[in-house]
Symmetry: C2
Subunit: 319 residues, 2 copies
């Protein structure tokens, strides 16, 4: 495998990680481009051009594709075929991208800029952005049902079930609601959230999909219980680390590098761990989460080196 060869040749693991992240991004882009092509598939009557354009605008052309990367790399631990894991990764990315399009809407976070481009409702209009989001969320489940995702129907069904739980009421969507409540959307002076409440909010809003990305590998690979637990521990720590890093970027990052407006959390009184703990303690917490994530993977030995590097990357990224 590429990473073992790389290690043998003494190539830095950080370089290997970046290569593999880039390769997954490229493959995911190509796969989504193919899946979101104009010809309708069986059971579809037509694919209206404007909706398809908007779904492509939201789903293609951007992002690090960290979530598909987590699916591909966690699945590689079990020697799952790359076609299978890219399909599951593409489905997860559809959910992630839909959530961004809806999150950016005027009635939600009201953002004009995303990944350095106009947000969907700016590039199109609000109604189209709503429908494109709805379409991508639905499409994610369509993708997971296809035989190309896994030959075993039971595995595909487990993916659907786990993604629905991660994305829904008790996961991402629930977290978005808690987030709006915490910033005082429904109550002029909401109770300030404590550390534990912020953790739950973020474990739902951001953590659930990242955790699913890691568990998807375990589902695709029919992992044993102990391997499942290891990936769950890794995914949970990674999710929390990701959010702290994101909040630090919002506080201290440069909008040009980050690709979207910064300083919005403080302005909106968002509930963040950086806000609760202060930047210095949050940075220490971030470091210990990286250690936690990496040590969770010890049962996999050197085969998990790229995932370990991913934890480091998530904590120190500048965008």
């Amino acid at each position: 495998m590429a990473r073992i060869d790389a290690a043998k040749k003494g190539v830095d693991i950080e370089t290997v990680f970046q290569d593999r992240l880039g390769q997954v991004a490229q493959d995911t882009e190509a796969l989504l481009d193919h899946l979101l092509a104009p010809p309708p598939v069986e059971g579809e009557r037509a694919r209206p051009a404007r909706l398809l354009d908007a779904m492509r605008y939201v789903g293609l052309g951007g992002g690090k594709r960290l979530r598909p990367f987590l699916v591909v790399e966690s699945a590689a631990l079990f020697e799952v075929s790359r076609q299978n894991s890219l399909m599951a990764g593409a489905a997860l990315e559809c959910v992630h991208c839909y959530s961004l399009a809806h999150d950016d809407l005027p009635a939600m976070d009201n953002d004009d800029l995303r990944r350095g481009r106009p947000t969907a409702h700016k590039a199109f209009d609000e109604a189209t952005a709503i429908l494109a989001g709805d379409g991508l969320l639905t499409f994610a489940f369509d993708i997971l049902c296809r035989p190309e995702t896994h030959s075993d129907a039971e595995v595909r069904l487990k993916l659907v079930s786990a993604l629905a739980r991660a994305a829904g009421l008790g996961g991402m969507v629930g977290g978005q609601m808690l987030d709006l409540a915490a910033e005082g959307r429904f109550d002029a002076s909401p109770a300030r959230l404590g550390e534990q409440e912020v953790k739950v909010l973020q474990a739902m809003k951001t953590g659930a999909l990242l955790r699913f990305g890691c568990l998807a590998g375990a589902i695709l690979g029919k992992a044993e219980q102990s391997q499942w637990k290891a990936l769950e521990r890794y995914g949970s720590a990674l999710g929390e680390a990701f959010q702290i890093a994101d909040d630090l970027l919002d506080l201290e990052g440069d909008p040009a590098t980050v690709g979207k407006a910064t300083g919005k959390d403080a302005a909106a009184h968002k509930a963040t761990l950086v806000g609760v703990l202060g930047p210095a303690a949050a940075r220490r917490r971030l470091e210990s989460l990286v250690t936690e994530a990496q040590s969770a993977l010890s049962p996999f030995g050197g085969r998990a080196d790229v995932l370990k590097a991913a934890a480091q990357f998530v904590a120190t990224r500048q965008a």
Copy 2:
């Protein structure tokens, strides 16, 4: 079975139909009330109260539950357990209800009234209505994955796949986009749609979910190809009939009876078959669709009498 007993006793099939429709509505309400209870299930972190309230507001307390009825009755042709078909019906109803909540949004149809109650964004707020819709759409797939929906994982996966196709880009969401385009949302003077184009639009916007309701019975019951085709023919005719009846109600109905504003189609220059054909020809078309739907069911004999009555009901309903 109740309907056979009823026939023996000489009870009017219309009465049997109304009883059974009412019973499915009651059972669906109870099931959704149970599924959308506060305690989180496995894989969920918490169920935020405001989101749950909004999802319950959108999903409970209204509607004829025609779609779950179609699932239950088509499944009954194959002696599928009522628990199985009610679960699949509840999932379908979640998709239907989410689509109404998003459709009512200010950026979409901007409706204040739905089933005689304030729409979700009026009862709560826009952000909550968006998230409640997202949550219900996601929840539909969660429901379909559960063992209570069917003991066979392959059957559950087929339901997920068919519902995703019916609800997505090439089905309902696509139809909503075509509908907005036809009313000139993206072009001040859009080309007036012909009969065929309006049929495609409506087969997607309204027809796809009704058709899925009928096919869900065939999936749950592992129907043979010929039975599948019969239910597909029935579902397609029923879907078209439903939409023509809906458009006639909008043109001629009383808002107090219909439970929402009427006369909106003409005001918004909506693309309807009533508009293309005129009310008289549309009414004739409606009658021939009822005949078509009923004759499609002839392979099932008297066992399909209640579904045949449903076709008549759909065409002549006043609300």
